[in-house]
């Protein structure tokens, strides 16, 4: 006997998306035993992210993005507008993001450190990770795994990770979280990886919930870029699994 489950298009009223109801930098979510809400949940998530993107798109005009992200934005926005995506993005939001005219900021400072056993400063490392995230899985993989582990266990990213004196202070600015999300989003454009997707969606919750912390056009633009890449990954997931149609 098929289990009757409401389709969000039939009801027209998506449920609220609870995972961004609080600032997830201040109060991380543990995601333990989360309830199942049927496929109305996809619409609730979709609505949350569209709201975040619309908000950020109005505040990121003229912002500078790291080079790899600035180069990725035009094709990413085109992909958002591809026909038959399960969850389309309103033209007004895409137009606002195009109108932001992101510029490529200074090229990333230096190459990735030799390996995750090195002591690192987080933000420069994440910027370096962006340069390989969509073209060199062998180089990017260990660092993505490093940051995924740190974030998933501690539910925060630290300013640095020093082998001798331990991890540094927790970061409360959304920018480092957006950098990691963008790196994961770029990696997901190359290959299906549900582990990467998992952390990307959690970071998406964080960026959506904490967007009031973005004080500059650069920061808003970086968060918007990360959410654009997350949205592409979401649509790819839905298409691959035959959902949302």
């Amino acid at each position: 006997m098929p289990r009757p489950w409401p389709n969000w298009r039939d009801s027209g009223v998506p449920s609220l998306y609870p995972y961004t109801a609080e600032d997830r930098i201040a109060r991380p979510h543990a995601y333990m035993y989360t309830p199942f809400e049927g496929d109305t949940f996809f619409a609730a998530y979709d609505a949350d992210r569209l709201d975040a993107l619309a908000d950020l798109s109005l505040r990121c005009s003229g912002g500078a993005l790291p080079g790899p992200l600035a180069r990725a934005m035009a094709p990413a926005l085109e992909a958002l507008e591809a026909p038959a995506v399960p969850f389309p993005t309103p033209r007004s939001t895409v137009a606002a993001l195009r109108a932001a005219r992101f510029t490529a900021g200074p090229e990333t400072p230096g190459p990735l450190p030799a390996g995750p056993t090195a002591s690192i400063e987080t933000v420069p490392c994440l910027n370096a990770l962006l340069t390989v995230a969509d073209n060199d899985a062998d180089a990017a993989g260990p660092w993505l795994e490093f940051f995924i582990h740190r974030y998933e266990v501690a539910k925060k990213i630290r300013a640095d990770y020093n082998r001798e004196r331990g991890p540094g202070d927790p970061l409360t600015d959304p920018v480092p979280y957006a950098l990691l999300a963008a790196a994961l989003g770029l990696a997901c454009r190359q290959a299906v990886d549900h582990k990467y997707l998992n952390t990307l969606f959690k970071l998406g919750d964080l960026l959506s919930s904490a967007r009031s912390r973005t004080e500059t056009a650069n920061a808003a633009g970086l968060c918007a870029a990360a959410l654009v890449l997350e949205r592409l990954a979401f649509n790819d997931l839905m298409q691959r699994q035959g959902l949302g149609l």
Partner: protein, 242 residues
Amino acid sequence: MTRLDHIGIVLADTSRTRVYLQALAAHGLAPAEALVLTSPSSRPGQVSGEAAKPYQAPWGRVDLGQSAIRSLDDAAVPHREFSPGDINGADVIEALAASPCEVFIYSGFGGVILRAPVLSCGKRFLHVHGGYLPDYKGSTTNYYSYLADGECGASALFITEQIDSGPVLLRRKFTPQTDLLELDHALDSCYRAQVLCETLAHHSRTGHWPEAPGGGTGRTYYIMHPLLRHAAICKSMRSHHA
């Protein structure tokens, strides 16, 4: 009923424990003794309300509404309660160390990690991971494997300080015959229970613990975001109700 000599169980009254105990009984197996960890408040893994009901398991019927204590009493397994029950607590460690059992099946509250003191108390802890090791280590792994290839798994191993990294004794893959809506409390527990019973039956029959072939380092997964979890469940519902 075969009394498992020198094999006890340390448990909390969770859905997994309820399935374990009923599976053991259905397979004619009974632990020598039980240490019961209790909690004054609800803990992860415990089942209540609508979920506390009968389900169809591979070996027959299992009732998640039947308490662990009831199952222990039905099987005449001597048991002792610890309140509050903490597997890493001094009182539990003392009781474990003093027990004549050499191995304890571990089925505690969700999210608890066994620390060095209890792992050093002289006993081994038999655990069944809900995933096919070493490929799927960590949390909520059957959702990940289902998204990847439509399969779930369970793997028996002795607990070490490295999570999900002890030598695998026995592992099985399962193709779900229903949707994944009941994966957390029923289906996953049934897969684990089946592997547990097969592992214990092997030891009872041969006197040795099985050893799964193959190896590798595998990959560690983290608790699944609800979006991915919904994708897995909805995929399974479409597959089973198409």
